[in-house]
């Protein structure tokens, strides 16, 4: 896949032959000019992808989706789970003068990843990487959004970017927006086509694959479904 350096955050539809096709964020790769994916072993499909052997072929279509609006200055990045993938890619687009705070949220110690990668990507910037685990087995104890709350009341960030579990993003967007900060979140929804025809990824009037995956905070807060509902495969609304 061709990587387009002007577009931090994009996703692709990744086909695991005989198993499924899943939306996956485009991850940075050690090989320049190439892209990678980071998979969390979860259900049937992601496990199938996880088990793909070197040399075995997978299919990729895309990249699809829009990208974060890059601001400069003091930046806050809040990521959880595989939502860290777009955050890692975002780090590669920073300017040398940016002052970056990255928050990594996880349930517990063994689910923390990318901390070292983040520190090395940021080694030329003024930065801090803060990890928080729900059970306190590593870093700060408690929800990562508690750290967000504290930081946004102390620091006037030029931008806040978030990707991860929807409740985490919802709270982050609310907190940042309440302080008048520029904030964007990258949403996840059930995706079938990835190109804006099947409708399965809709959130209120927005289609995540086509209008997003990244939306501005104010727009999201006016969307009745954000933070509350997502749709299952049949398109029925389910609570978070």
């Amino acid at each position: 896949m061709q990587r387009n350096h002007n577009h931090p955050n994009q996703f692709a539809m990744v086909w695991i032959p005989g198993i499924n096709e899943l939306p996956m964020s485009v991850m940075i790769s050690r090989e320049s000019g190439k892209a990678a994916f980071t998979v969390r072993k979860h259900g049937h499909a992601s496990t199938g992808l996880f088990n793909v052997k070197v040399g075995q072929q997978i299919g990729v279509r895309g990249p699809y989706g829009n990208s974060f609006d890059l601001k400069q200055g003091k930046l806050l990045l809040v990521g959880g789970g595989t939502g860290l993938v777009p955050m890692m890619r975002l780090l590669t687009f920073l300017k040398p003068d940016d002052d970056v705070t990255l928050l990594i949220g996880a349930k517990s110690k063994d689910e923390v990843f990318f901390e070292d990668l983040a520190n090395s990507l940021l080694d030329k910037n003024s930065h801090q990487v803060i990890v928080s685990t729900d059970d306190g087995t590593y870093g700060e104890r408690g929800y990562v959004t508690e750290v967000v709350k504290k930081l946004v009341s102390e620091i006037r960030f030029n931008a806040v970017y978030t990707c991860g579990p929807e409740i985490m993003m919802y709270k982050t967007v609310q907190l940042a927006h309440s302080k008048g900060l520029f904030v964007q979140a990258s949403l996840e929804r059930m995706m079938k086509c990835g190109v804006g025809i099947c409708g399965s990824c809709c959130v209120g009037e927005d289609l995540v694959c086509r209008d997003g995956t990244i939306f501005d905070g104010p727009h999201l807060l006016s969307n009745k479904e954000f933070g509350h509902f997502h749709r299952n495969k049949a398109g029925i609304l389910e609570n978070y």
């Binding site: 099947c198 809709c202 049949a234 398109g235």
Partner: protein
């Protein structure tokens, strides 16, 4: 730009085709504001359906799509609740089922909804026991259409496609049973194979081809139906520009639907087409769409 499809009156002739983005009332409102004259819902069944696993969509080299979404939908009862608040948008509810009772039951669910028409999907090419398997059986088509016509006063449209029975036979059966209009056509059965892994790409193997590849096939179907029967027609298949829309109207359709073009030009396509058709009408001095309908049959 207003048009009448028999008893159905629309302000603008371009509608959203069934199965495309048709899942929430908010989206319907957005599309209506974006210029759609009406929206057709995803085809609804009596129960919720998950549809097929991914991959459900294949992007055809050179344009168009093959989909085997598998008629995933929240089911008529759930969906009726979603659109109950609707006041403004002309909504056409698409229904899919195997027997007349399925349709009868679903129509009851919509008793509190403001609905412009029902569209019976007799032509989905990739789900067993419904869609084309129904459309290919003219006797069953007659029974379903009669039952539906007896269950509602709202106009009823039959959507046909290329199946194993000649689609004109299905059209004729539907007309005999009192159908109000015909939508032509649905996707065309197709498949794609991956040469590296040597498997069909779609999880269901077969899917329906839509978009530019089927435009000229759909156009001839509209022309053939309008040459043979006196029934309002909604043209559908591969329409993406105002020229396409005009071609379908000249071939005899009263309105058109589109889906795949949204994958390429996003929802701007509605206003682009509206604008183009309007300019064409001004240039050619038509004050109504009706004046240009079917003109290609004269030559």
């Amino acid at each position: 730009m207003a048009t009448c499809i028999g008893k159905i009156q629309l302000e603008r002739p371009v509608m959203l085709a069934s199965g495309i983005l048709g899942i929430s009332l908010d989206v319907f409102n957005r599309l209506y504001r974006a210029g759609a004259g009406a929206v057709v819902t995803k085809s609804l069944s009596t129960e919720p359906w998950d549809g097929y696993p991914n991959p459900t969509i294949f992007s055809v080299n050179g344009g168009g799509w093959i989909n085997a979404v598998g008629l995933s939908n929240p089911g008529a009862p759930n969906f009726a609740k979603i659109i109950e608040p609707n006041k403004d948008v002309p909504i056409i509810v698409s229904l899919v089922g195997s027997i007349p009772q399925d349709f009868e039951m679903m129509i009851k669910e919509f008793k509190n909804c403001k609905i412009t028409a029902y569209e019976l999907n007799l032509s989905c090419p990739h789900v067993a026991k419904v869609g084309l398997e129904v459309g290919d059986d003219p006797e069953l088509v007659k029974k379903i259409v009669s039952t539906v016509k007896n269950s509602t006063n709202v106009p009823v449209i039959a959507k046909v496609g290329l199946g194993t029975t000649h689609y004109l036979t299905t059209v004729s059966a539907a007309i005999d049973s009192g159908i109000d209009a015909i939508t032509a056509i649905n996707t065309v059965r197709a498949m794609a194979i991956d040469v590296e892994t040597q498997r069909p790409i779609l999880s269901n193997k077969f899917g329906g081809l839509s978009g530019t590849p089927i435009k000229h096939i759909a156009l001839r179907c509209v022309y053939e139906i309008s040459s043979k029967y006196d029934i309002p027609i909604i043209g559908c298949g591969g329409i993406s520009t105002w020229e396409d829309a005009v071609e379908f109207i000249l071939a005899g359709s009263s309105a058109i639907q589109l889906g795949s073009a949204i994958g390429e030009n996003w929802i701007h396509v509605f206003n682009d087409i509206n604008k183009g058709v309007l300019e064409y009408m001004e240039r050619k001095n038509y004050s109504t769409l009706e004046e240009m309908r079917g003109l290609a049959k004269k030559s």
